[in-house]
């Protein structure tokens, strides 16, 4: 073990390297060198909106997971939840960057017209989207933004979120947008672990003591009113998923087609956990509008205020 840390330390203090992790001049575009031209017959604005939806889900969920750091019951869970949050942050960076490239492509880079929501010079699309949008411009599902509860609630939220997202990403590997397909293929490998982690804890707590069972069930009950929303297709998703026959390739996945797989996984996990599937009504949005439409819960404003505060206070800041 010691040899590893000695070498890592030596690597960090390598004297003739002037740009180093953590005190360089910022992150590189995570899609540098990737061909982000629009696939034929795809509306760039729709593709950008779709990438924002999936990217915002990952970004906001990642932020909630990061807020758990230093508060988890054991060191192993600290490391696990931090790593899951980091995976989702990586997915968010790629998806927000892909959204920006599609947005630029939609307006025609050569035509000289710049998207009206384009970042100012020197600011990356991913930062622009993450830190300089307002609440109603976020397209994440409300499940991701809910105030954190106890460890039972975290486990339930992660189980629901990653079961849904894994089913989605797995189908998205067939996307006719090669960038989305590649992002999805990487994401599948990561979210497979996330779902296993959440499912294993659900069983351990649900099939544990009376107290752990009761709190796991309460966690599931807390997130359940936000489950139906995951399977409602936004018009952008409907348009991009309409590639032809139900199982043929398109840019996007219609989330309503994921419900059966989600229910199958949940039935299995809940049975092994001795938990009951909640029978709770969905929390309505406003006039039928929910997260995908930019209509969020009270928790969202507070979340963004914290997440965006440093970038907005120091918009030109580098570190």
């Amino acid at each position: 073990m010691t040899a590893v840390f000695d070498n890592a330390y030596e690597a960090i203090i390598d004297a003739d390297s002037d740009a180093r992790w953590a005190f360089g001049t910022g992150f590189e575009n995570p899609l540098a060198g990737v061909d982000t031209s629009l696939p034929p017959d795809v509306d760039g604005a729709d593709l950008a909106a779709y990438c924002l939806m999936l990217g915002d889900d990952a970004l906001i969920m990642s932020h909630r997971l990061q807020q758990w750091c230093t508060r988890l019951p054991e060191l192993e869970e600290e490391v696990a939840v931090a790593n899951i949050g980091l995976d989702l942050l990586g997915q968010a960076r790629l998806l927000l960057s892909r959204a920006g490239a599609a947005r630029a492509g939609a307006d025609g880079i050569d035509g000289g017209r710049v998207a009206e929501d384009a970042p100012p010079d020197g600011r990356a699309w991913e930062d622009h989207y993450a830190f300089f949008r307002d609440e109603h411009e976020y397209r994440n599902v409300r499940l991701a933004e809910l105030e954190n509860g106890d460890f039972g609630e975290l486990t339930a939220r992660l189980l629901v979120f990653s079961t849904w997202r894994l089913a989605l990403l797995n189908r998205l590997t067939e996307s006719t947008d090669p960038v989305l397909s590649a992002i999805a293929a990487k994401g599948v490998k990561e979210v497979t672990y996330h779902r296993d982690y959440a499912a294993q804890w659900t069983v351990r707590l649900g099939d544990g003591t009376d107290e752990s069972h009761q709190r796991m069930q309460a966690g599931l009950d807390a997130v359940w009113p936000y489950v139906d929303e995951l399977f409602v297709a936004h018009p952008v998703e409907e348009r991009l998923a309409a590639g032809g026959a139900p199982d043929s390739a398109a840019v996007a996945v219609d989330p309503s087609t994921l419900r059966t797989e989600f229910d199958d996984v949940l039935v299995h996990v809940l049975k092994a956990s001795t938990l009951r599937r909640p029978d709770l009504a969905a929390t309505p949005g406003i006039a039928g509008r929910t997260g995908r439409d930019g209509v969020h819960t009270e928790a969202m404003g507070f979340l963004l205020a914290e997440m965006q505060s440093v970038a907005r206070a120091h918009p030109e800041g580098v570190w």
């Binding site: 740009a19 360089g24 060198g33 490391v79 960076r93 982690y197 294993q200 299995h268």
Partner: protein
Amino acid sequence: MPVPTMTRARAVAETVTDPELPMLTLADLGVLRDVEERDGRVVVSITPTYTGCPAMDTMRDDLVHALNRAGYDDVEVRVALHPPWSTDWISDDGRRKLAEHGIAPPGAAPRRPTGPIPLTLATRRPVHAHAESVGRDNAEVTGAIRVSEVGVGVTCPWCGSAETEEVSRFSATACKALRRCRSCQEPFEHVKEI
């Protein structure tokens, strides 16, 4: 006969080590995908292990600096997202070096099935060292969702015992799990198959 320059550029790029597993080169890890010359510049393609890997920028800088030092002034590092990185790309040399440093190398990566991804609900105590598949041959079908078990076939890098168990699916980096040997009692890390 002079050495073709791209062979030399590739050789230089292949000496660059991973920031988090510095006993391995990026080539050992399978992160270095391609080194070629385009219009007088060296274009290096690398692929992230995990999408959130915070070391990507360091890898990029290290590659540029190594090639600059070797006399290549115009270097571009590109990201290759497809196909996604797999632990199957870690070279035999890389696996040997991992084991020498107390990190159990990965077994064969699970094949991506058609249809839903199998759920791994329970870890199982190891049976023997040669069950090479993880989450594949042990899969059982439960309803529409395949359920499998992990934890088979990871050998302790310190004493060689097959009696090891998983402590945590995640370790100091996203790509490693934390395990414990039930023979020598030592903890060790294991590069997870993806």
